[in-house]
């Protein structure tokens, strides 16, 4: 067994309980792997992101400028952190940063930092407004989705055959159930302000939510799939507990899609399952989910597999998947000396002692 003694930078170390980022869970997967003996650098966007302070998961923590501040600011920050930390591999974990990272990949790699990312075309194909086309590739159905650019849609949507409730979504992130025109208009304004235009509306599908996460090797193979049924969710619909499952229909649909577009990198496949076991594709996320630690529970360390792919090392075989493993999330208070907070605010980051 090889042991990887490398420095890995992981974004998305935010962890508000109702909607945590996946970064800390990805860090935890690496930290607990017997194949990893390296350093982990947590990268956050807010001085209150807990991953910037948690020694058990990160060896250092730094702030990044928000993706909206532009490519130059991002590259400059990464360059500065790289000078300090000598990053070997960068694992982005948030939807909103993916377009920039994918675009800047040659420049990131030029610095000597390895990544394992989808191509710009692959990323475009899984955009939420491309859902109908991508569902066809997976061979499953999806609820109708429509692009809108004006809140007035909600007041005349019935003329176009739409009815409430419906889901309002940002192009990159966020989804809200709305039950009337006023709620729709408010959700539209909020999402447009945060994620820009266009905004998407999607018909509501009845059923239970199931998710699959895996890594695409870029050659058309799906590696290490882990499937889960949400057992409890937060007010924002994020998984608070779940149980691993093994469903061949979900496996086939996901594998078919990954093969069709030769997906490169981690992904999460979100589907609704009706009472007859039929699936409808809700969306595809180009990253690991926040519940990724369940993969360690079922013996398939996917972040470790992604790290090996980024390092161009053989991934090896995965253990057979296991159904019936639960995760139950909890929130925890961490005590942080003011001096550490000061370091993050004033210097943009620090080493965790």
């Amino acid at each position: 067994m090889s042991v990887f003694n490398v420095t890995v930078a992981i974004t998305g170390v935010n962890a508000k309980p109702d909607n945590p980022g996946p970064g800390l869970a990805v860090a935890r997967c690496l930290r607990e792997s017997p194949e990893f003996n390296g350093r982990i650098v947590g990268l956050g966007y807010d001085a209150l992101d807990p991953g910037l302070y948690l020694k058990k998961y990160c060896d250092a923590g730094y702030l990044l400028p928000y993706p909206s501040t532009g490519d130059e600011a991002f590259l400059s920050a990464i360059r500065k952190i790289h000078e300090q930390e000598k990053i070997d591999v960068l694992l982005p974990c948030l939807d909103a940063e993916l377009p920039g990272m994918v675009r800047l990949r040659p420049l990131i790699e030029e610095m000597g930092i390895k990544v394992f990312l989808p191509t710009p075309e692959q990323l475009r194909m899984r955009n939420k407004d491309q859902l109908t086309e991508i569902a066809k590739l997976a061979g499953i159905e999806c609820p109708e989705i429509k692009t809108i650019t004006h809140a007035g849609f909600f007041y005349k949507c019935q003329e176009e055959g739409w009815s409430f409730p419906m889901v309002v979504k940002g192009l990159f992130y966020d989804a809200r159930f709305v039950h009337n025109a006023d709620e729709g208009a408010e959700a539209f304004r909020h999402i447009a302000a945060e994620w820009g235009l266009p905004v998407l509306v999607q018909r509501v599908v009845k059923g239970e939510e199931y998710n699959l996460t895996a890594v695409g090797d870029g050659e058309g193979n799906m590696l290490g799939e882990v499937m889960m049924r949400k057992m409890a969710v937060t007010d924002k619909g994020k998984a608070w507990s779940g149980v691993s499952i093994i469903d061949h229909a979900l496996y086939e649909a996901s594998a078919k899609l990954i093969k069709a577009i030769k997906w490169r990198g981690p992904l999460e496949f979100e589907v609704m399952r009706d009472q007859h076991g039929h699936y409808q594709l809700i969306e595809i996320n180009p990253r690991f989910p926040a519940w990724i630690y369940l993969c360690v529970g079922v013996g398939r360390n996917l972040p470790m597999a992604l790290l090996k792919l980024a390092l161009n090392e053989p991934v090896g075989d995965f253990r057979e998947p296991e159904a019936g493993v639960l995760f139950i999330r909890h929130a925890e208070d961490n005590i942080i000396p003011i001096a550490e907070f000061e370091h993050v605010i004033m210097q943009g980051g620090h080493h965790l002692q």
Binding site: Y210, M228, R229, M231, G242, V243, S244, I245, I246, D247, H248, R273, Q275, H276, G277, A323, G324
Partner: protein, 95 residues
């Protein structure tokens, strides 16, 4: 496909053998479906029925076996089994 015309309990009321065989059934009566991720609990009689159903799709022989084992009337058992099978079909997504 025998059984009672009065209650409507037929072998077609039984969930498919494939669906039943995938269920993980604990001695405690805890039942987990690894495909749907659902779970439910059964009492001792439900556990006996499930064990029979996993190995045998012939309802009349199952009813005969359970009638003898529990000393209940065939008619009462059929009624209860019909209800149990309906819940079971719903649980495994065949309704």
């Amino acid at each position: 496909m025998v059984d009672s015309e009065q209650t409507g309990v037929t072998s077609s009321s039984i969930p498919s053998a494939e669906s039943l065989r995938r269920l993980a059934i604990s001695e405690s009566g805890f039942v987990f479906d690894p495909t749907s991720g659902h779970h439910f609990t059964v009492n001792e009689t439900g556990l006996v029925l499930l064990r029979h159903l996993q190995q045998n799709q012939d309802l009349s022989s199952i009813l005969n076996a359970v009638t003898q084992e529990y000393n209940v009337s065939h008619r009462d058992l059929e009624r209860d089994v019909l209800e149990f099978l309906s819940l079971l079909r719903e649980f495994v997504g065949e309704q």
